[in-house]
């Protein structure tokens, strides 16, 4: 059973009388432990695809199974739970809470975690160590460099131990040296068994992935 299984996924938007088809019959299967890059130009539909994979949006039609569960017709609350438990997001603009410390930012997803977990403390120490920010736990985002902020975001994405790490242009705001470091961390995560889906328009970044999926005009190809 693949981690992500999409069958005939369509997504259309209405603009007045006009119906725009952003995704046309996407069929996609991603196995556990894969490192895939979805590449496309702006307007290709890659953002919409990412939103659906990340359960931020639902398809107009088609079936999407995530971790063995049909998620294409879940309620808003149920989707929130799926995101919380199964998906870690890393965004281009980091999106850290400016008024919270590094530690508090990393712990953000645990606020909304349904169950109880005793290992959180150990996990957060491990994650901060992994991204090299143990010393900065009490810092605020504005005291950190862009690369460091993205490391915090990666730690945050992993704190609830999701199966899937979804990175949307994770290096878009970073210089090439820092981008390399960040991609290094993401690759390491994949080596440790995380499934990673990378969304990018940059082929140099996409080259880190082991599988390349192209999207153009709402149709994917490999």
């Amino acid at each position: 059973m693949p981690l992500c299984l999409m069958e005939n996924i369509r997504k259309t938007y209405r603009m007045g009388d006009l119906e725009i088809e952003v995704l046309r019959r996407v069929n996609l299967s991603i196995e556990k432990g894969e490192f895939a890059a979805i590449m496309g130009t702006s307007g290709s539909g890659k953002t919409t695809l990412m939103n659906i994979i990340g359960c931020l949006d639902v398809p107009t039609s088609g079936r999407y199974m995530l971790a063995g569960r049909e998620v294409s017709n879940l309620t808003d609350d149920e989707l929130s739970e799926i995101r919380n438990e199964h998906i870690g997001f890393v965004f281009q603009n980091f999106y850290l809470l400016p008024y919270a410390t590094v530690l508090e930012n990393v712990l953000l997803p645990t606020l909304y975690f349904k169950g109880r977990r005793d290992s959180t403390e150990r996990l957060v120490t491990d994650l901060l160590g992994l991204v090299g920010l143990e010393e900065r736990a009490k810092f605020r985002p504005n005291q950190l460099s862009g690369g460091e902020q993205q490391r915090v975001a990666i730690a945050r994405a992993l704190i609830n131990e999701p199966e899937l790490l979804l990175a949307d242009e994770p290096t878009g705001q970073l210089d090439s040296k820092t981008a390399k470091e960040i991609m290094g961390i993401i690759s390491k995560m994949n080596e440790q068994g995380k499934t990673v889906i990378l969304i990018t328009h940059d082929s140099a970044i996409a080259a880190y992935a082991k599988r390349l999926i192209q999207i153009k005009d709402g149709i994917i190809s490999e």
């Binding site: 931020l56 609350d77 995101r83 919380n84 999106y95 809470l97 606020l111 909304y112 109880r116």
Partner: protein
């Protein structure tokens, strides 16, 4: 569920601390609104308390008949229309009256003891004076019926006057000069404070009514007032009507003519007090409600602005698993936390400002848990009422659009 709520509230507290400018402006407006409401509640309570005190002191079973029509009293004219014979007749006619005490008085009379002088009210009454006013003699003793019959020069002195004339000396047994007439002080009245109209009640000397009339006023017939206490307090207002009828008949007042006397009852006193404080309470009430509504709008607008500013925060919270309700509750708690603090600060401000108000005007203000609870509840009403819309807007943001900002 409970743990999740606590975590969300902790986020609210963090935001309240972090967005200092928003917190500051919301606090100012809520504090002002709640403090004026608290003052009103306290003032209303104070007025009631004062009214009850005054009625209790006046005597809930008592009526006071004063010579002269209400109109004449209003213009400050004091007519004497009540006679000693009237007093006797009332005593005979009203079986339920256990005390019928005539009184007559002279204002601004110079009283002296050694070198000390003072302008004082001289009251003439019977030996029942302190009983009929429930105004105990705390040192020495009352004058007696014999003193009244014998036109003796004895008197009771009020606390204020005693201090002015005697300082720390004990006045009992000493002589004061009242308009040249030596009067021996036999007792000291307890402290009474001020009347509802602000007169100092403790500046007086009470002497036998006979002494006052004959020796100081050269009067044989008229007294200024008559105080009556009834056994059956529950029938006080029917007694009032009877008394009115009785006096009109005795004084031969034809139908349609106004009374030549005024009867004051506990109700009358409450009316007077309400007139005195009512307008101020209404004014403060309107001001308070307006300022609270203004506070609500300030809060709502600042929160709407805040939601706009924090769109990305909302987006990332939603992406990491926050449900709509989590966001709603977070923002609602932020608003309620601020208004609660505002409510508490408002109560403190009300305490301080009412001290000032009591200094400026003799205005009865009484703070109890009621003012505090009303303020706190209203602060929650404002917090929830005006915080709900912005919180809803935050919760309803589409996560995709929120995160794209």
């Amino acid at each position: 569920m409970y743990a999740r709520l606590l975590k969300i509230i902790s986020q609210s507290f963090k935001a309240v601390r972090s967005f200092k400018l928003r917190t500051f402006f919301c606090l100012i407006s809520v504090t002002l609104g709640i403090s004026s409401i608290s003052v009103i509640v306290a003032a209303t309570e104070g007025a009631y308390k004062k009214a009850f005190e005054i009625v209790a002191r006046f005597g809930p079973d008592s009526l006071l008949v004063i010579g002269g029509s209400e109109q004449a009293r209003a213009t400050g004219e004091r007519q004497k229309t009540i006679t000693l014979d009237d007093v006797k007749a009332v005593k005979q006619a009203f079986d339920n009256a256990y005390l019928v005490v005539p009184m007559t008085s002279m204002r601004e009379v110079t009283v002296s003891y050694k070198e000390e002088k003072n302008q004082t009210l001289i009251v003439g009454s019977t030996s029942d004076y302190s009983r009929v006013w429930t105004w105990p003699v705390i040192e020495g003793s009352d004058f007696t019926e014999d003193d009244v019959k014998g036109l003796r020069n004895v008197g009771l002195i009020g606390q204020y006057l005693a201090k002015e004339l005697f300082g720390n000396e004990n006045p009992v047994g000493k002589y004061v000069l009242v308009k040249g007439l030596p009067v021996q002080i036999v007792g000291v009245l307890s402290e009474r404070g001020t009347s509802p109209s602000g007169d100092l009640l403790d500046n007086r000397i009470v002497i036998p009514i006979t002494t006052l009339m004959r020796k100081l006023q050269n009067e044989t017939k008229y007294v200024s007032a008559l105080r009556i206490r009834f056994i059956d307090q529950e029938n006080l207002y029917s007694h009032l009507e009877e008394l009115k009828f009785f006096f009109r008949k005795r004084h031969g007042i034809p139908e349609g003519e106004p009374d030549d006397f005024t009867i004051i009852s506990p109700k009358e006193i409450i009316k007077f007090l309400v007139a005195l404080t009512g307008s101020l309470v209404v004014f403060l009430g309107i001001t308070g409600v307006i300022s609270l509504i203004v506070a609500g709008f300030v809060l709502a607008n600042l929160f709407l602005l805040s939601v706009k500013e924090r769109t990305k925060e909302i987006g990332i919270r939603r992406a990491t698993g926050a449900k709509k309700n989590d966001i709603l509750l977070q923002f609602l708690f932020e608003s309620v936390v601020i208004t609660t603090i505002g409510g508490i600060l408002g109560f403190i401000l009300a305490l301080l400002s009412s001290k000032l108000l009591m200094l400026i005007a003799e205005f009865p203000i009484y703070f109890s848990w009621k003012a505090f609870v009303v303020g706190l509840l209203l602060s929650w009403v404002v917090g929830i009422g005006f915080g709900l819309q912005p919180a809803k807007r935050a919760a309803d943001l589409n996560p995709i659009e929120a995160i794209r900002g």
